[in-house]
Amino acid sequence: MAQVTLRRLVKEYEGGVQAVKGIDLEIADHEFVVLVGPSGCGKSTTLRMIAGLEDITGGEISIGGTVVNDIPPRDRDIAMVFQNYALYPHMTVFDNMAFGLTLRKFRKDEIQRRVMEAARILDITQLLDRKPKALSGGQRQRVAMGRAIVRDPKVFLFDEPLSNLDAKLRVQMRTEIKKVHQTVRTTTVYVTHDQVEAMTLADRVVVMNGGIIEQVGPPQELYHRPATRFVAGFIGSPAMNFIPARIEPASGALNLRLPGDILLPIPAERSDRYRAQGGREVLFGIRPEHLTETRQGRATYADLEVVPEVIEPMGMETLVHFHMDGTRDLCARLDPTIPAAPGQPLRLTADLANMHLLDPQSGRVL
């Protein structure tokens, strides 16, 4: 078990393209950290640098207090699970899992004990004699995890391990991975582009974009208190709505003017925070679940009228898509019993206690 530390980590490819631009990250012992971001954000490169599969251009990586910059992968005491499983096709499941231990000259009875224990945890005991080609995608992924578990390494590295599975199996395997981590408690770095995976698995989520870290924090914090427009838009599905607006002072209070002359009163408890921003153009960010059918009872509720363009009934909720001047697609989440039809004006309530105001230039949350 060990902590992992990245200090000013840089990866530059030939031709001067920087995939990772000097990131700092502390991962605690036993922690499950998920690196998430769109393709090309540098998350996989970061993971591969921790694994030792990519050279480091600048900075420092330490595992368990030892700087590993120049230590080859096999001596870093890490195990990795790949997106395409990377099982050895000519070996049985048992041999696949035992391979790392055999190379490290473990005794036969110890190998047997460890493989059987990992197989029991992953429920693949009955598959030990099979070759990878006789396994389903989910089973192959379990074997790949088994290969990591038997080694009992300091750190587990997962590189988009669920991306090749179908949607249903992905949800199932997500739970499995969480269970395994709760059992073995090994420090884990997990890379995914799927924010739902990140939210459900992580102790802390690291949101990356363009080679830098946008924000690090527990899933709930990222969801409710995003630091930047990128994080606010990336975490959550459907994504947060962004509407251009202006903060207007109005006799001691503050209002928010939206396109179409919609005026929303900024709640009193948030007014002090935005007092200095009076008259300023901002981006009003609100999640679809805070833009619902009309409600009363809280001072932070404010109504607005929209014209739905597309209605998506999801069963437990209905998504209503509409737009305002200068916005892209906006989305509200309604109770499925509320009648809504395209083209028919609809009153919605925005819960302004959960709004976010952002600087349109820097993208920072104000």
Binding site: R74, Q83, Y88, P89, F99, R151, N164
Partner: protein, 298 residues
């Protein structure tokens, strides 16, 4: 209305299905016809060899009658060849040279292909192309300079000279085949092995060779065939009958001036063709099989 419309629709469908069936039948027929023609063209020479080998010298010389029919089949040509100690010597020389060449080729080609396809180093791309280019130089051009080299080493008139020069034909092509095969093995497989603790040699021995076995067998078949059937080099380098391989031994010993021992020549050629046929028959399945199935998704 509906009563009249329904049969029409049904007829339309049936007509379409019928034309598809006809198209398929036509495709099958043309495939069969061309395959039969190709088989006849390919099999006529070996068949003619076989029937000639089964004829007596008198029957071969007899210009009357159909040459494609054997009147008095006999095994005397085969018996004469197999009973000839010199012929057995040719056979043994061919086997020895071929086995050694296959081993030498694999010992050079497998590590070379592994290094060129996996260990990215400066100039590896150029080297890989260079290896293939050397294969494009025909042996009819190479045998003169090689004669000097083999002569310089004192290996003329020795099968060891052949073991030395045949790899110049086999190594480039085998390396090229295996570079392609190794390149098709997913990169994650070596990364997994690296993390599991394997060094480069362990990775080659325990992962690449077993996974790339179909490619290695394909290369082995190639090296075997080239070495078994080589004609130009032994003709140039070997004049002593006891060091001759089968290809030139049969020709040099069974053609005396303008006298051709056709029956024995054909029997010898048939026997010489036997080992490659056996090798192909046994290894063809491996050659075609895709062992990488299941390594990664799909």
């Amino acid at each position: 209305m509906s009563a009249t419309a329904a049969p029409r629709a049904g007829h339309g469908l049936f007509h379409k299905a019928g034309s598809l069936r006809a198209e398929r039948r036509w495709a099958l027929w043309s495939a069969y016809v061309s395959l039969v023609i190709a088989a006849i063209v390919m099999l006529a020479p070996p068949f003619y060899m076989l029937i000639t080998a089964l004829k007596t010298s008198a029957e071969i010389a007899d210009l009357n009658g159909n040459p494609w029919i054997v009147r008095d089949p006999t095994l005397e040509n085969f018996a004469a060849i197999l009973g000839n100690e010199m012929f057995r010597g040719f056979f043994w020389n061919s086997i020895l040279v071929t086995l050694l060449v296959v081993v030498v080729t694999m010992l050079i080609s497998i590590p070379a292909a592994f290094a060129l396809s996996r260990m990215r180093f400066w100039g590896s791309q150029w080297l890989a192309t260079g290896v293939f280019l050397t294969y494009l130089v025909p042996d009819t051009l190479l045998f003169i300079p090689l004669y000097q080299i083999v002569g310089g080493l004192g290996l003329l008139n020795s099968i060891w000279g052949l073991v030395l020069v045949y790899p110049t034909l086999t190594v480039p092509f085998c390396t090229w085949i295996m570079i392609g095969y190794f390149a098709s093995i997913p990169k994650e497989l070596d990364e997994a092995a690296l993390i599991d603790g394997a060094g480069w040699l362990q990775m080659l021995w325990r992962i690449f060779i077993p996974v790339a076995l179909p490619g290695i067998i394909a290369a082995t078949i190639f090296a075997f065939t080239v070495s078994w059937a080589a004609f130009v080099y032994p003709t140039a380098f070997i004049t002593r009958p006891d060091e001759m391989p089968l290809t030139i031994g049969v020709v040099s010993q069974l053609i005396r001036g303008d006298t051709f021992a056709w029956g024995q020549l054909m029997a010898g050629a048939l026997l010489a063709a036997l080992p490659p046929v056996v090798v192909y028959a046994f290894l063809m399945d491996y050659y075609v099989a895709g062992l990488t199935a299941g390594a990664t998704k799909g």
